[in-house]
Amino acid sequence: MERERERFPDLVLSTMKNLNMVIILYMTMVTVYSLSGYIYENSAMEFLIRVKRLPMEPWKLPVLSIGLYLCLLLLLSIRCKNKSHFLLKTILELGIVFAISYVLNFGYAGMVLLIIADTMSYFSDMKQRMLLVTSICVVYILLDYDLLSAGYHIVSTEDCWAYYSREVQSLLLGVRNILNSLNTIVFISYAIVMILTEVREKERIWGLNEKLNAANQELKMANEKLEEYARESERAAETKERNRLAREIHDTLGHSLTGIITGIDACVMLVDIAPEATKEQLRAIAGVARQGIKDVRRSVKALRPDALESLDLKSALIQMMEETQHSTGVEIVYQIESALKGFNKDEEDVIYRIVQESITNAIRHGKANHVQVQISRNFNMLKIHIEDNGVGCGNIQKGFGLHHMEERLDMLKGSLSYHGDHGFVIDASIPIRWGTEEEND
């Protein structure tokens, strides 16, 4: 169906081409016959005196008109992609039409409609098309015998055809006019088909646009819903965590503290009466307190990174870096000069988090593919140096990550420095407080 609709204008166009061929042949042959008639019936002189111009030799008429028309058909079959080529082609076509018209004594110029039809299929821009078609139409109008004969002395078709008797002459002219009208009608149908096709195409595009807009709208709404949902789920997780913490504190610390308070109250009463029983009681209280602290540790443990849970710090760091390297493909070179033993849990946490956060930043923000991690001990300070080859950052805006690191280090009386001129470099120092902690642990 679609293909058929596409082919229909082509069909009309080829009909037009054939019709023009017929008209040109008809005009030429009738003129040739009349001119030969003048010559063979010895009225050449009379003809010359009457028209006051030498017509073209009879044999040349069909040769030239058909030859020129073939040229026109060849040109019409060429599709131009370039605007200047197209303009050249159109001008050449008009020139050929003028030449054919000249050969036909300006008795027919309907070939111009062929050019217009061909031109119409080129431009989608209405303005350009109108301009071009209008200028071609001007040529068409100017190619009129009566108009041209005012400026130039030319032999008219009627002058040549005056060779035939009046009746035959009217018949011949009538046939020419009918053919001419047919050509015009075919042209008009072509134009209508072209316009209809175009209107349909425009409607189709308009409909598709509408659909696209609707789909876009739906997508936008879905996106918004999703964002809302993400926010809600985050809130829910927060609340859940808070509740868990509250329960944990209540269940463990609350329980132990309550026991301790009750026990201490009993000790206050017992201490004078039975010191031995009091001692016994205090020992029991210490047991409760120990149990309490055990519970707290267990709770805190639940919040720690998994790796640290099962491994020591160094192994956890190495595993983390290896895994990151493996999963992201970024080359991570590390050098850990210390055994990293003897840190308490929160210190281990901070060290682990700083390294993890820095590598994440280097990959995510710096787009780095090489990260160098160096952990060393300098007297009683642990130095962490992390350097990447990423884009760096000229104007550093502290995000949540950096801020968090500083905060954590602050708690441990450590310090943090960084710069982002060539890649990103982070230096962290943490004081080592061994001794008491070790005992505690």
């Binding site: 003809f47 010359l48 017509p55 030799e57």
Partner: protein
């Protein structure tokens, strides 16, 4: 669109090449068409012929069968081919003068126009108007050897149309007045001299016009064939402007001439005289071409016509404001517009019209007058004339030479013949009407100007 985009790069190249071939084919076709249309193909090997064809008629231009029809031309061709061995000159024989214009037109319409052809005076306008003649301006300007001064001015001007030279004169003949000397002697009148005037003319005609046998019908007349054009020419009337946009019928000279014609016609009292009467010896004067005089003056043609009386010729009578001036009939030679041998044709044309030896033979083998002044006035021809026409007025060649040189040259323009026909109709109306000649010329002049204007607006 989608289909095309889907095809590969090789396909695009293929279409480009296809279009390239078509464009090339189109250019080739256009060039061939151009070669065909402009006759340039005739210059291509296989089509080229180094032959110049001349269009000519078999009998004498002056209507006399003298048996020398192609003699001059053949002689000229032999001599020309000797001078230009690389070119061949041909002509088609056997076309009589009567069929010649039609034959020539037919050849032209077939595209087989001779490169060079003789143009009878009466058809020069038609051919010039039809645009089949080559303009000679560039040849004349570029050829240093050529000098238009050598030709009689009037004969040379005969080949120009609308101010452009289209032809060169070959031979010519002025209009002269034939005089029946027997009638004048019978009436006791003297033969008029070459300086005679309208008054003399009118006087003789009035004396001559009479009923000789007493049957109440006039049977001896003053003149036959004397037209308003003859009167206009000899009274210095300029009838049209150069471009044929205005007629000067209201000019005093024209009115004088028309009145004179009226007076002359009154003499015949309504009797229409035919030229047969002159041959019978009943008319004193008839304007004729010099060629006719020459043809019938010599034996044996003189026996056939005008044998019953003595006759001679004089110049045309001069009007009060003009001179003893008449018209010239000239056979010209023109070049076809479509010739591909224009330079050779020009050489041949120059040779035929300008070679002294050849031109001088016109006196021997034709009835016309050579178009070169130096030839007519040469001592040799003086002797020839004195020998042939010793008895007549023409024994003195100077009269002939002057007549040719002073002959009227009418500016010709588009549709000249029809304009003249309009004037003829107007003059007839004025002569036949009884109203005031002043009023009538104004009315008629307005009509003619109207005609000239509409004619201009058509072309």
């Amino acid at each position: 669109m989608g289909r095309r985009a889907g095809k590969g790069k090789t396909d695009k190249n293929k279409t480009d090449r296809k279009y390239g071939i078509r464009a090339g084919l189109c250019v080739f076709l256009l060039v061939s068409i151009w070669m065909t249309a402009s006759d340039m193909y005739k210059m291509l090997p296989g089509f080229y012929e180094n032959v110049i064809r001349i269009g000519v008629f078999s009998d004498s231009y002056w209507g006399v069968q003298n048996g020398y029809s192609y003699k001059l031309l053949e002689e000229a061709i032999v001599r020309f081919e000797e001078q230009h061995p690389d070119i061949q000159v041909e002509y088609v024989s056997g076309i009589v003068k009567e069929d010649y214009p039609e034959w020539l037109s037919g050849q032209m319409m077939r595209g087989k126009a001779p490169d060079l052809f003789f143009v009878p005076g009466e058809h020069f306008n038609d051919f010039a108007e039809a645009g089949v003649l080559r303009e000679l301006t560039s040849f004349i300007e570029e050829d240093k050897e050529f000098s238009s001064e050598r030709y009689y001015t009037s004969a040379y001007e005969y080949g120009s149309y609308g101010g452009v030279q289209y032809a060169l004169p070959y031979e010519c003949a002025p209009k002269l007045m034939f005089v029946n000397k027997s009638v004048l002697e019978r009436e006791g009148l003297a033969m008029p001299g070459n300086q005679w005037t309208w008054d003399d003319f009118y006087h003789i005609c009035r004396e001559v016009t009479k009923d000789t046998d007493g049957n109440g019908v006039i049977d001896q007349f003053g003149t036959v064939g004397y037209t308003w054009e003859d009167a206009f020419d000899s009274n210095g009337v300029t009838l049209f402007d150069e471009r044929g946009t205005e007629c000067y019928l209201t000019d005093e000279k024209a009115k004088t001439a028309i009145s004179f014609m009226g007076r002359m016609e009154e003499l015949n009292r309504g009797y229409s005289v035919s030229s047969k009467e002159f041959a019978l010896g009943n008319v004193a004067f008839q304007p004729m071409l010099f060629s006719e005089y020459r043809a019938y003056k010599s034996y044996p043609l003189s026996i056939k016509k005008y044998s019953g009386f003595e006759w001679d010729c004089v110049t045309m009578p001069a009007g009060p404001e003009g001179g003893n001036i008449s018209r010239l009939d000239t056979l010209t030679l023109a070049m076809s517009k479509s010739t591909v041998h224009s330079q050779e044709a020009w050489e041949l044309m120059k040779f035929l019209t300008g070679d002294e030896e050849l031109q001088s033979e016109i006196f021997s083998y034709s009835e016309g007058v050579p178009v070169l002044k130096e030839v007519v006035e040469s001592e040799e021809n003086q002797k020839f004339f004195a020998g042939n026409f010793d008895s007549g007025n023409l024994g003195k060649l100077s009269m002939l030479s002057d007549s040719v040189e002073q002959a009227v040259v009418i500016p010709r323009f588009h549709d000249y013949d029809n304009a003249v026909a309009e004037v003829d109709r107007a003059v007839r109306t004025i002569l036949e009407g009884n109203s005031n000649i002043n009023m009538e010329t104004i009315i008629q002049n307005r009509n003619i100007n109207q005609y000239l204007k509409t004619k201009k607006s058509i072309y």
